[in-house]
Amino acid sequence: MHSKERYSDSTHSLPLSLRYFVFAILSLNIFSLGYSFVARLLGAGLPYDFPYLFTPGLFFSDFNDLVGQISLFGTPQFFTQHRFLMYPPAALLALRLSCVTAHPSRPFLLLLLASGALFAIGFFRIMRQRGLARSSAGLLTASIAITSYPYLLLLQRGNIEVYVWLAVTFGLWSFYRGNYIWAAVCIGLATAIKMYPFVFIGLFLPQRRYREAALSVFTAALVSLVALRAMSSDIWYAFHWNRIQLEAFGKYYAASPNSLGYDHSFFALVKYALVRWHVDIGPAVRPYTLIMAVICVVLYFSRIWRISPVNQILALSILSVTIAPTSYDYTLLSLYAALAILCVIAVETPAASQSRLIPFFFLFALVLTPESYAVLDGARLGGQLRAICLLALLVLALCKPLISGLTGAIDQGPNNLPIGSQSAESGLKP
């Protein structure tokens, strides 16, 4: 973001699509909280009175579970622990760097809060710069912040997904503004920490920015190498140990029906179908991964390659949080960069074309609010409902062209017809 950019002289209220969006996120959140509240008053019990601030286990459990183990990082004892550490090397290094103080959970909580504040303030400023009145920008920002279920889950669990969120957000915004080198570095960092953000490297190829794509791969490899070296002087040994840890994730978590209500991956839909019949999911993981890889490659070269860069950002953001065999709900934070870009587009879109954006915003609202009401036969189905909404959002991203007029924003290809342009209004498709 250009810090010297000034706020627009003329200010205006929320455009129609954003008013619908604010209405959708607030009413869905009220319905969700109201549902839990009434269920609690009626004594319906769990999961009907499920509060979205509670999951069984201690506050900050994801972080606190790892603190003891990660304190041995860099020592031989680190490799002889009983519990698995199912994270890539760069994630373990990031976690180690978060635990340098005597009470590591406090600075980490501060980091989580600061990240939320940074996103909110940054988003507010961007909306103001695009010409929204202070009250409208404030209403939009506050509504997104208070209804953010992925962020609340992140705070509750203390998960290291925050690093991926920061790297992906800065990376996508840099790409959107045309700062490709920073975008490449950030996407490389995110890939090193969590692997699945590698799909964002696909943003550079249709624009023939091969150097930036290579820079992303190089950054991911370099950071992983540094992390392995920090883990042990024998990098090869550390690499093999980490491979076993990551395989354990596939064995125990990807194939596990546990926490199915928090899992919005496409595979969670398959799991839900299989689990009800007590089928062993384990043998289905590898075929699913291979089939998904083939589908993604075909989709990328046949469709994603040809759509506008903004559509590519949205499509790849969705794929980054759905194609893994297990994807818990805090990973949805990676969608907020795409949402911010969509909000910018909404502000710039003429009134006549606003209605075309409403389906995007409605699906975002369904995905990002708590969904306490999604319960069937005593089991939460929030993850499965989100997976279906994300699939619908992916289809929209692939079929409905979006464009931005933001100064310094990414080039729009000649084939990409904008929502709001005459071509789009006349129903032409790229």
Binding site: V22, L46, L53, F54, T55, G57, T147, V275, I281
Partner: protein, 101 residues
């Protein structure tokens, strides 16, 4: 009159306020009841008022302060929240979790 005229800033602000109130109510209830204070990882060994639900003592029904009850799946070392989709049946993946983790 346009169909979207009800979406005024004033109306949306009232919704935001209602949202804040419900969130605050939820947070206050949570702080009063402290369901997250108990470490359910040790539900089988610590006395949280959990009751075994099977002969093998691998399923425990535990009270969650302020919210009702929840079934946990326990090995000698750890407990996990039981996935409700499978009811009280322990599936192959859950057997693997109990055995190895």
């Amino acid at each position: 009159m346009r169909s979207d005229s009800f979406l005024s800033s004033k109306f949306l602000s009232i919704l935001l306020l209602l949202c804040c109130l419900l969130t605050a109510e939820e947070a206050i209830h949570l702080l009063r009841t402290h369901p997250n204070r108990l470490n359910y990882d040790q539900a089988a060994t610590k006395n949280f008022g959990c009751v075994p639900r099977d002969a093998g003592k691998r399923l425990f029904l535990c009270p969650i302060p302020g919210y009702g009850t929840m079934v946990f799946l326990c090995s000698d070392k750890h407990c996990f929240p039981k996935e409700p989709t499978t009811g009280l049946t322990i599936g192959p993946a859950e057997e693997k979790l109990l055995r190895d983790l």
